[in-house]
């Protein structure tokens, strides 16, 4: 019963926030239209930048709804869920993490990421993607090409993995500490990449 109350309160807060963003978008589009009609180009542009911000925030929240609440045995930490719109240098940044203590899995999405181009270059040249020492390889997750990087911590000797999947101009990064390749790939396959793609692109 207590859990039910918490869930209801959370969904109410989320719906209120979504309404807030929606109102901002409506307000900004009205400003953009009026400013443009009145020949005030700079104000029109500023209002449009705000609109992009509003859209990015809504996209971020929708993506968070799509992400799994659990990654196998790791439960998400809703209080760490984050959406940040940075119109300009990069687009929207979305974050969710799973697990507790030292074993925390991080899932990050960044639209208009400046490093997407270099990752795509690696993916398109076959001999560049796979390193001879086994620290980097190209894999496929839900049909999307991705770079999987392995690193061994010098102090703890634990093996950590980083998976990078470019989706158009958006970069999805999944990091998993102290694990193995099979587990990382299995968990990555829980991410609804196709659905996210439809929303962010």
């Amino acid at each position: 019963m207590e859990k039910m109350k918490i869930l209801l309160t959370l969904s109410f807060i989320l719906s209120l926030t979504a309404t807030g963003w929606s109102q901002d978008f409506s307000k900004n589009i009205t400003t953009a239209k009026n400013s443009y009609a009145g020949g005030n180009l700079e104000d029109a542009r500023f209002a449009m930048e705000q609109m992009l911000n509003d859209i990015d925030m809504v996209i971020g929240r929708e993506v968070l709804k799509m992400l799994p609440a659990k990654m196998e045995t790791f439960t998400s930490n809703p209080k760490n869920d984050n959406v940040a719109a940075n119109t300009g240098l990069a687009g929207v940044a979305i974050h969710r993490d799973y697990g507790t203590g030292e074993k925390i899995l991080n899932l990050d999405l960044m639209s208009n990421s400046p490093i997407v181009a270099s990752i795509n270059a690696i993916l398109s040249i076959p001999f560049m993607g796979n390193s001879g020492d086994g620290t980097q390889k190209i894999i496929k997750v839900e049909g999307y090409k991705a770079i999987l990087q392995k690193s061994v911590d010098a102090e703890s000797s634990k093996t950590n993995y980083t998976l990078q999947i470019p989706i158009g101009a958006t970069l999805l990064t999944f990091t998993a500490p102290d694990t193995n390749e099979e587990d990382v790939i299995r968990m990555a396959n829980l991410i609804p990449i196709s659905q996210i793609t439809k929303l962010v692109e």
């Binding site: 953009a32 239209k33 443009y36 700079e42 542009r45 449009m48 930048e49 996209i59 240098l89």
Partner: protein, 267 residues
């Protein structure tokens, strides 16, 4: 034991000779084949009435790696090119609203970006119109006027104009809303351009119509004067074959810097 060793050596030498001999025979056979093929080709050409020089010419004109099929393809002699159509701002704003309401956020984002691109192109055009038609006796190069915008992102809006007379040239570039501008401003505010009294002075801080600026000089490229405008804009003049710093400064002073700043919405 010695006999065995000697006979083994003899066999090895014989093998070597026989293999090199075979190589020689193969080369001879190859040469003979080539000569026969050439003779046959010549006969065939004679019968068909094809001139040798003509064939060589066709081969030399063909790009390497292309098939004979491509040799007869027509090459483009010109066309209308692409029509420069700035995005329809009103239409894109209407599209953005519809897409947003229907939950197609990706489409809404694209429409807003297109609308922004349209507005930026208009801002750029307005700024170009406000720039002087001639500066220090140099007339503007109409065809060099350029407004570049990505609609969004780090590159922002860039407006470019060139003035030219004989070997003297002035290039004016205005960058607006670009992310790297904050870095330039920070550099200036923190005294990144520290001035020295010894050695060759290639740059220094100056003021253009009350605005803080940096003037640089390079023997190969000439003078360069940069003035940050407000928070996110910058105007840069590059003068080629300008006689002195004063001449460069007076050229920059003929621009309405405050007017440009206002048009770009800078405070």
């Amino acid at each position: 034991m010695n006999i065995k060793f000697l006979s083994a050596c003899l066999v090895a030498v014989l093998f070597t000779f026989s293999s090199s001999g075979q190589g020689f025979v193969n080369k001879l056979r190859q040469k003979a084949d080539e000569a026969a093929a050439k003779a046959l080709e010549k006969k065939a050409k004679e019968k068909a009435g094809i001139d040798d020089a003509q064939t060589d010419d066709t081969n030399s004109n063909r790009p390497s790696g292309s098939s004979s099929k491509n040799a007869n393809r027509p090459s483009n002699k010109g066309g209308g090119g692409l029509i420069s159509t700035p995005p329809d701002v009103k239409q894109h704003l209407a599209d953005a609203e519809t897409s947003y309401k229907s939950g197609s956020y990706g489409e809404a984002r694209y429409a807003v970006q297109q609308a922004m691109l349209g507005v930026e192109m208009e801002i750029g055009k307005k700024v170009l119109e406000a720039l002087p038609a001639s500066v220090s006796g140099l007339d503007k190069l109409e065809e060099a006027d350029q407004v570049t915008s990505a609609g969004y992102g780090w590159s922002g809006l860039t407006i470019h104009r060139e003035y030219l007379k004989d070997d003297k040239e002035l290039r004016a570039t205005i960058a607006n809303n670009s992310a790297w501008m904050s870095a330039v401003n920070m550099y200036m505010a923190n005294g990144g351009y520290a001035q020295t009294t010894n050695g060759e002075q290639n740059w220094k801080q100056v003021k253009v119509k009350g605005h803080k600026a940096i003037i640089e000089y390079d023997d190969n490229s000439g003078y360069k004067l940069s003035v940050p405008l407000g928070q996110t804009s910058l105007i840069v003049w590059e003068g080629v074959n300008f006689e002195s710093e004063q001449e460069m400064m007076s050229a920059a002073n003929s621009f309405d810097i405050d007017g440009i700043k206002n048009m770009l919405g800078e405070k």
